[in-house]
């Protein structure tokens, strides 16, 4: 079975004080996560205050490479099937995402992926992941 990836409408991105700088970075092809300035720990999704110690946080650029922790191809109600996944970044943080630009039926846990960016309805670039070339 083959289920070829197709673009689907992503709706409008949610712009608020927590996401503004993140989406400014994705516009130039950079994926950032948050690190605590006090305890130094990384976390996801990004918060203004560290979820380990409530310290202040700062943005940090990451490699955008990782592997699929879990993946599910949502086929109904359609019309466009899509692969929702958790990807564990090489930095040790796991984020919810979609896997794109591939045969969705070929995806498997443990597979290496790298970040790509897809435009939302308002042009905001949304980070997603595609399989690394073999």
């Amino acid at each position: 079975m083959t289920t070829t990836y197709q673009d689907r409408p992503l709706g409008k991105a949610v712009h608020d004080p927590s996401s503004e700088q993140f989406f400014a970075a994705t516009a130039s092809g950079s994926l950032r996560i948050k690190a605590c300035v006090s305890c130094r720990k990384l976390h996801w999704y990004p918060r203004a205050l560290c979820p380990y110690c409530l310290g202040d946080t700062e943005w940090r650029e990451v490699s955008g490479r990782g592997e699929i922790y879990s993946v599910s191809v949502t086929r109904r109600p359609g019309p466009t099937p899509y692969a929702i996944a958790y990807v564990r970044l090489d930095e040790g943080i796991t984020m919810l995402t979609n896997i794109v630009d591939c045969d969705l039926d070929s995806l498997h846990i443990g597979q290496r992926v790298r970040v790509v960016f897809k435009p939302a309805e308002d042009g905001t670039m949304i980070p997603m992941f595609a399989p690394e070339p073999a």
Partner: protein
């Protein structure tokens, strides 16, 4: 300080409707309240504590206490999704133990079926929900946020679709005796595997029903319970927990039941092997398997083998579960299945389940709920009860 034997479940009522386009949500709550109070043998004016969650219309308790004509001295609107009404039983027992109320009424009702709800539609969450900016565009829906946990469980432990299907088979085996159940046809493992794939690896028959309806419970002081005509059901112990994405250290191989379960067993002073009947939240088949492991009914990772071959079927297997047909076949009112889990456990402890599914001499039962999304954030509640 403990709630062990400090409060009793004196009234339990499950609304018989599964589709109610001609009734308001407030009316359904009130019909459930009437049913549970009649079951207990108590009157509206006896109620001095009220518990409801996000399914209550308007401004929750403010709206519903006024609609029901209640005069209260204790109110609790804890909302942990579908597990909320299990938490309410625990909180009601705490309030009774502290002298804050004597007769606590808990109601749930909703009309998701009439209103066209679906497990493959985006979940309605309010603006300002903090994860929205980071997740909404990936189209997380109810079913795929459980499918991700199922996929990982299969990868890590070798769990199979056939094993998950056995959970549905057991629920359907029970539902055939429930005249109110939405789905009463027995099914085979092959039927589950032949149903359409919704979100890998979950198929249509791995998913619960969408139904209208509701339920209510009355929790009272032990002296009051003993003065009534109904069998006495004691609350023995309870646990609650919220599990999320663990700050990005996501681990989908266990649920919040791994936290709430041990707390409940410790308070009750019993162990899993003592339990004769379990009501386990069955939003999806994987939800059941995960909670059974996390509660300690089997080893982590061996849930697939545990549920296979009819082990959850009353009279057949070792651990009878959801003898009303559960959310998979009977009812999932307001998309929240916690209250019906308690109601069927009460029926079993009273000896009032259908004769084909009644567990003989059922003295110790457990009800377990997982509300929200197994694959991201959920509230877990465990409740252990005994026949006095």
């Amino acid at each position: 300080m403990s709630i062990k034997r400090k409060a009793c479940i004196a009234g339990a009522f499950e609304h018989p409707t599964r589709k109610a386009p001609d009734k308001t949500v407030a009316q359904l709550h009130a019909e459930c309240a009437r049913g549970a109070l009649a079951d207990a043998g108590l009157r509206l004016e006896d109620v001095d504590g009220y518990f409801c969650a996000g399914d209550a219309p308007g401004l929750g308790a403010n709206s519903m206490a006024d609609y029901l004509g209640l005069r209260l001295r204790h109110v609790d609107t804890t909302d942990t999704g579908g597990s909320a009404h299990l938490v309410h039983v625990s909180h009601a027992a705490q309030a009774i133990a502290m002298g804050k109320c004597d007769v606590a009424l808990i109601t749930l009702a909703g009309r998701p079926r009439s209103e066209g709800a679906s497990g493959v539609a985006p979940r309605m969450v309010g603006p300002g929900t903090p994860d929205l900016a980071w997740e909404a565009h990936y189209a997380p829906v109810t079913v795929n946020m459980y499918a991700l946990a199922a996929a990982r469980h299969m990868y890590q432990y070798g769990t199979t679709s056939e094993q998950l299907a056995w959970i549905k088979v057991a629920a359907a085996a029970h539902a055939q005796y429930n005249p109110d159940a939405m789905l009463r046809e027995p099914v085979k493992v092959e039927d589950v595997l032949a149903s359409p794939m919704i979100s890998d690896p979950l198929r249509r028959l791995d998913c619960c029903v969408v139904s209208d309806g509701g339920g209510a419970l009355v929790v009272v002081r032990p002296e009051i319970a003993r003065s009534l005509k109904r069998p006495v059901v004691n609350v023995l112990g309870a646990g609650e927990a919220i599990k999320g994405q663990l700050n990005g250290q996501v681990d989908l191989t266990w649920s919040g039941a791994a936290w709430s379960g041990p707390r409940a067993f410790e308070e009750a002073g019993v162990k899993p092997s003592d339990v004769q009947y379990v009501s386990i939240y069955d939003s999806f088949t994987i939800t059941v398997l995960m909670q059974l492991e996390d509660l300690g009914f089997c080893e982590k990772g061996k849930g697939g083998r545990f549920v296979a071959d009819g082990n959850l079927i009353s009279g057949v297997g070792k651990l009878p579960f959801n003898t009303d047909g559960g959310g998979l076949c009977n009812n999932h009112p307001a998309n929240r299945g916690g209250i019906t889990k308690v109601i069927e456990a009460v029926r079993q402890l009273r000896g009032e389940a259908h004769s084909k599914v009644q567990v003989p001499n059922c003295n110790l039962a457990l009800a377990q709920g997982t509300g929200g999304l197994l694959g991201s954030r959920h509230g877990s509640a465990t409740l252990i009860m005994e026949r006095a």
